[in-house]
Symmetry: C2
């Protein structure tokens, strides 16, 4: 056993899972009460939630359910989609994002994940779309700060640049976030989106030095990608990503927050939720946390 | 009509298409003789070829066929796949790449396109794989130079990093190429792979200043991506890429070579080749060459 791990099995487990969080989408076959119950049974204390299932259950009721179970909501997904050209659409997006901020506050999480949005239909102006993201952050960041919520800008893999998110690298996300105070706008470091980038180590250092790492999310990269490339994320350890290296980089950059596992994979959704959660936890211990 | 275009229709056509080249894969329903014949009928003078159909026809016979038709071979695709860990596999790759260099020389093209290769099965070491690409370039570059062929390292979209090409950005490709003389190792600028990158303008400038642009290839980015993400390239003008901006950047960087259209798209392959070639030429004039 490595010398930097606690020696007793219970302490080891405690240290391993103190930062672990399961994102709701990873086990989306579970209803919100099933998720809360399943986490309690498995000793999992952090959950990342999504707006649609929370709204369906009722925001106040969801907040109560999670709080009563002693769970921490590590993030809420997602606001964003700021890139419309039409002014009515942009105003609607701001209204929706203010609602997302209020939902995050009600759930007791500081972290609202933002997916910026893709190119408007027929547009080829990536730069303009990125500036509209900055404009929206300027509108929303003070409002979020007043609610005790930080906007967490998530760079998505470049394969989503046209239709989902014009912010494709951590460097880009940081350049946008750094226009605002660190306590108002941070970034999400997600291994699935960023693993291929040869500058990612130095960009994680930059993010950490600026106090900008608002969330750290994990999924593995597996091929072949499915049509639409949305639901092909891999279980931890099944793919190409050096997950432990990422966790060490984020730790070395000073991040001490939750480590959230967010996998979109229909194969996981077909299995019993408790079995998936146990597998994720085992993979997390083996591929993310344990020293080599 | 814009003042920087010739005024007569024939001269305009001449100027528009003097650098145009059609990559064989764009119209792969055509055999090599059909391609040569179709290009002659359409007034197209440049073709990018692939090794498999050339080998099938016979390298010497293909070289003669193309030369007799007055066509220029603008590039040969492809060498590469340098990332194996097994020494026997790596030695085999070098043998195969020397053959590719000889085929390029026989066809009279200076440009051999290299797709570097992905991660070996089970490996998560992107850095190591990239260094093995550098090692192979070191082995092959002098051999290629002796044959009058330049190695053209192609960065592929990050969605191919695991299974096809560990070189994902133009900056990375340039950092590798710059270890060698510019006349031995250049880079490919392909809009499909690089369009999302917010640093691409400055990297094209860097590539041009160093005399490193060995090829300029065009395809558009359309969504949704198909399963496997290999055959989803869009016809020029159908997607998100500002093709004219790219051509202007490459021109401004001092590149004066061929502009090759390389689209992998099964819908194009189902149509008559001459119809596809005419459509590509019309799109090229409209979306790539004409001033705004």
């Amino acid at each position: 056993m490595s010398s930097d791990l606690p020696t007793g099995p219970e302490e080891a487990n405690e240290a391993l899972f103190s930062r672990f969080s399961i994102n709701q989408q990873t086990i989306k076959q579970w209803s919100l009460p099933e998720l809360v119950d399943g986490c309690a049974k498995a000793g999992v204390r952090g959950v990342g939630l999504w707006r649609a299932p929370v709204q369906e259950y009722g925001v106040a009721a969801a907040a109560r359910l999670v709080r009563d179970a002693g769970l921490t909501v590590t993030s809420l997904c997602r606001g964003g989609f700021f890139t419309a050209l039409d002014s009515k659409d942009r105003a609607d997006a701001l209204v929706d994002n203010r609602a997302a901020i209020e939902e995050a506050a009600a759930l007791g999480t500081e972290t609202l994940v933002l997916v910026s949005g893709g190119l408007p239909a027929g547009s080829r102006d990536l730069h303009g779309a990125r500036e509209r993201v900055a404009d929206a952050l300027g509108e929303l960041a003070p409002y979020a700060a007043d609610a005790g919520v930080r906007l967490a800008l998530e760079p998505l893999h470049p394969m989503y640049a046209a239709d989902r998110c014009v912010v494709s690298t951590l460097a880009q996300a940081l350049a946008l976030a750094e226009r605002f105070p660190a306590e108002q706008v941070g970034v999400v470091v997600d291994t699935y989106h960023l693993w291929w980038d040869d500058t990612i180590g130095s960009q994680i250092g930059r993010a950490g030095a600026g106090g900008r790492i608002a969330a750290f999310q994990l999924a593995d990269w597996v091929t072949p990608l499915p049509a639409g490339v949305l639901l092909g994320r891999g279980q931890l350890g099944d793919g190409a990503v050096n997950l432990r290296w990422f966790r060490e980089q984020v730790d070395a950059a000073g991040y001490r927050g939750p480590v959230e596992v967010e996998i979109f994979n229909p194969e996981l959704w077909e299995r019993p939720g408790a079995e998936v959660l146990a597998e994720v936890a085992e993979r997390f211990a083996r591929h993310v946390m344990h020293a080599r």
